[in-house]
């Protein structure tokens, strides 16, 4: 035992005497996690958040959250002598007069963009595999809250440098707040300490950005991870994997090394990108003044969809009893995100209600085995993507030489028409894949080899599935849901069903969800099918032997090939071997 270990052991004992930590360690170090690349997407988000925190602390040492106007006297020549807020001047100083400051600023920004993108990708994984199902509904809601907070963190950070782009973003945010009926005007005045731009907003936002939001995110991440810990990670179907076990590697040492190493990899790649690729060159955009604007003013990607919604929404505004309601702003910028995040948060409950399924699910669905869910996910992504295109329509217009007016009209119609099409197509594809899986389970692999039997019949040789693939395909049985039966108005005992109408709705929803799914074969059918396939394969086996012995016949795709100089027919050849196959 080395000296370090001795010291470490003493420390562990010392701590354990006071908090009983060894009990936890003993249980935890052997904790098993399943291995799959898609389970690391959440880790990317976690690690990039840590990078955001670390780089953010560095930035706070130099950044001044003040809107006081100063004359710039730093080393960036094209802005020398220009009036600007202290916030912008200090951000320029970080970029040009603090060595490595630009690197850290870029790391902060890239890591922030990555944080939200990784959360989104992680969410896709969780959604499409049904990992949000019981018992993990709370963690899904926490995840949605984290994404929402991530947007808030991102937008508040984007606004702090007080450059022309971020100031324009704040102007838009102010316009949105003002469009909220009844409370909007006062809300905006309170937030901004009066009119736009005022002198207080940046410092207020600063507090929110460096304390409130990160604090909440940190708290929620802690709960999120504790829940993963308690509930144990879900796993994909495979050999030996059931709903009641976890198959994988222990935390110590495998995941200590893999996850720990992955942290450094994420950290390192973010640093590399920040050294190689510019992000948010605020010195180009110039200081913010409320009477200047740049073409191509866009928010960061995660707000882009809301900006897109704002761009394509028709110009509807009504005046009722002397009060103005700006539907053209209120709906796309307030109602739409409200609906999107609420529906997303409650989705697990909606699906559970339609299913009537109260079991725990620790084994993940393959996306094809939940066609409606998968299709809904693709529909949502399509909707998001179209709005995102709207958010960058001017850049798209000049890049592809299109008219912004045509793009907007395309999107106005497209956001209504295209997502349902995406839904239908995805569902069809999933159902098609389900059919194929069913075939495979019943009849094995199509080997592509055609065999002619002595009496002239051609058959295609099928092969039994390898055990791993069979275990994966058999998970369809676990995933399959039959639609709920239509409810009865009066039950067998003549008692009236008080919730009849609700039950009708539920049955309809359930029907819509599951009616088109392909019912997988039962385990008995699979067993019989695979046995049959094994028999088929046995039929072909002598051919292979013959094949190897004298290369008279070589099986190939679609038929039987005669080798050169061989006068006998297939039949003769076979007869020669004893007449039986």
């Amino acid at each position: 035992m080395s000296t370090t270990e001795k010291v470490g052991g003493k420390v562990a004992t010392y701590v354990d005497d006071r908090v009983g930590s060894n009990r936890f360690l003993g249980r935890s170090l052997k904790k098993v996690f399943p291995d799959h690349w898609s389970f690391m997407l959440g880790e990317i988000a976690l690690y990039s958040f840590i990078v955001v925190l670390l780089s953010g602390v560095f930035l706070t040492l130099f950044y001044k959250p003040s809107m006081v106007e100063v004359v710039y006297d730093g080393s960036y020549v094209p802005l020398k002598g220009v009036m600007m807020s202290e916030a912008y001047a200090s951000t320029l100083d970080i970029s040009f007069d603090v060595r490595g400051g630009l690197l850290i600023r870029q790391m902060h920004h890239w890591a922030a963009l990555l944080f939200i993108a990784a959360m989104a990708v992680h969410m896709f994984r969780v959604f499409f595999t049904g990992a949000f199902r019981k018992p993990r509904e709370f963690n899904w809601i926490i995840g949605i809250a984290l994404i929402t907070l991530g947007l808030g963190a991102g937008f508040s950070g984007y606004s702090l440098p007080d450059d022309l782009l971020s100031g324009t973003g704040l102007q838009i945010a102010r316009g949105i707040v003002q469009a909220i009926p009844i409370v909007g005007t006062w809300g905006a005045f309170l937030l901004f300490d009066g009119e736009f731009p005022g002198t207080e907003f940046i410092s207020r936002l600063y507090g929110v950005h460096i304390l409130l939001i990160p604090g909440l995110i940190l708290a929620l991440i802690t709960v999120h991870l504790m829940m993963v810990w308690t509930q144990k990670h879900t796993q994909f179907p495979g050999p030996g994997r059931t709903n009641d076990n976890v198959v994988g590697y222990p935390l110590m040492p495998i995941y200590m090394a893999k996850a720990g190493g992955f942290f450094f990899v994420v950290f390192g790649v973010i640093t590399l990108i920040s050294g190689l690729v510019t992000i948010n060159p605020i010195w180009i955009f110039g200081p913010y003044t409320p009477d200047q604007v740049s073409a191509g003013s866009q928010p960061d990607w995660y707000i882009g969809w809301l900006d897109g919604a704002l761009r394509i929404f028709p110009n509807i505004e009504t005046v009722l009893f002397g009060y103005t309601i700006s539907w053209n702003i209120f709906i796309p910028a307030v109602i739409l995100p409200g609906i999107v995040f609420t529906v997303a948060a409650f989705y697990p409950f909606i699906e559970a209600w339609a299913t009537g399924d109260k079991r725990d699910h620790n084994l993940l669905d393959r996306p094809r085995n939940a066609p409606t869910r998968t299709a809904l996910g693709v529909m949502a992504i399509t909707f998001y993507f179209l709005l995102f295109i709207g958010g960058g329509n001017d850049v798209i217009a000049i890049t592809f030489d299109l008219s912004i007016n045509s793009i907007i009209w395309f999107l106005r119609i497209g956001v209504i028409v295209i997502p349902p099409i995406a839904f239908l197509v995805t569902r069809r594809i999933c159902i098609g894949l389900q059919r194929k899986d069913r075939e495979k389970l019943l009849h094995g692999y199509e080997s592509g080899r055609i065999l002619r039997l002595p009496h002239g019949e051609y058959i295609e040789v099928h092969e039994p599935l390898p055990s791993k693939e069979r275990a994966v395909l058999e998970s369809a049985i676990e995933s399959y849901r039959a639609p709920l039966p239509a409810p009865q108005k009066v039950d067998a005992n003549g008692v009236r069903n008080k919730r009849y109408r609700l039950d009708v709705l539920r049955a309809k929803l359930s029907h819509w969800y599951y009616a088109d799914d392909i019912k997988p074969p039962t385990r008995e059918e699979i067993e019989a099918g695979q046995a049959h396939v094994a028999h088929d394969a046995a039929l072909e086996a002598p051919l292979h032997e013959y094949d190897e012995a004298s290369t008279v016949m070589v099986p190939f795709h679609g038929g039987i090939l005669h080798t050169e100089g061989e006068p006998m027919s297939n039949k003769q050849q076979l007869e020669e071997r004893g007449g039986n196959l």
Binding site: D35, H36, W37, S38, M40, L41, I44, V77, P78, L79, K80, G81, V82, S95, L102, Q106, W110, L113, L114, A117, A118, V121, L164, L165, V269, S274, G275, L276, V277, T278, I279, N280, P281, W283, I284, F285, G286, D291, Q292, V293, S294, A295, G296, Q298, D300, W301, G304, G391, G392, N393, D394, V395, A397, I398, D401, L402, S403, I404, N405, S406
Partner: protein
């Protein structure tokens, strides 16, 4: 073509060529325009004007009319000035190959002398903005920072803060300024080509124009302190890079971690 384009963008060369053309057709008096007797100038210019008219009738009159009075397909050129002609023709925007939302930049069919002749012809129809002199185009002493402020007030709304260009209505666009010469920038401000408004010397004096040119030139030549610039168009390019590049790299790494070693 590239060499020609590079030479064309150089303001000094362009101006010199203009002078050479004037010398060639009108004689030495043309150089000292203000001092020269009016009659001599008139004679000197007349040859250029005639040549310009010939070129005009060949290449431009089908849209702009036989007397430059304008038709349904092209606006009147009376009073647009020599600067306008030089800008439109020497960047290849005119003559237009086909009607469209906006005249695109394309290879130039005319020599500098031809352009100068056409400019002289149009200028002879009615007074208009003249081609800027070398002195006007000299931005070496201009204040870049002041130019930046004026650029953001007057130009960035269409041409984007980094001069990368931006979209206008119905398929029109404000072009990128990243390869524009000082003369092109000056002439564009002076004449308001296509849908660009006019920034006359009265509202944007010569020294302000020089400052703006100095700032744009600085943008063209500036290094990118933070690494590859992604077109300097901001969040859209960054978001694209993030999803197509960074996320893809991380998924690749995650797959690598997940694969069993052999």
């Amino acid at each position: 073509m590239k060499a020609l384009a590079a030479r064309r963008r150089n303001p000094i060369v362009a101006t010199l060529l203009l002078f050479v053309a004037l010398l060639g057709v009108g004689g030495v008096y043309a150089v000292a325009t203000s001092a020269a007797p009016a009659e001599a100038v008139a004679t000197a210019d007349q040859t250029a004007i005639d040549e310009g008219k010939r070129l005009y009738l060949e290449g431009c009159s089908s849209c702009h009319g036989l007397n430059a009075q304008g038709t349904a397909t092209g606006p009147t050129l009376i009073g647009v000035g020599a600067a306008s002609v030089h800008f439109q023709v020497s960047t290849g925007r005119m003559p237009m190959a086909a009607p469209g939302a906006q005249a695109p930049v394309k290879p130039v069919d005319y020599s500098e002398a031809d352009v100068a002749a056409m400019a002289a012809y149009i200028a002879s129809l009615a007074p208009g903005p003249a081609i800027p002199t070398a002195e006007q185009l000299d931005y070496t002493d201009a204040d870049i920072a002041e130019g930046g402020v004026l650029f953001r007030i007057n130009c960035a709304q269409c041409h984007q803060a980094a001069g990368g260009g931006g979209a206008l209505t119905q398929g029109k666009h404000a072009p990128s300024l990243m390869s524009s010469s000082a003369q092109e920038i000056y002439e564009a401000m002076l004449t308001g080509p296509q849908n660009m408004p006019v920034f006359a010397d009265t509202t944007l004096p010569v020294e302000d124009k020089q400052a703006i040119i100095a700032y744009i030139k600085d943008l063209q030549e500036a290094e990118s302190p933070g690494g590859i610039a992604l077109g300097r168009i901001g969040p859209v390019a960054e978001g694209l890079f993030l999803w197509a590049g960074v996320i893809a790299v991380f998924i690749g790494i995650a797959v690598w971690i997940g694969i069993k070693a052999r």
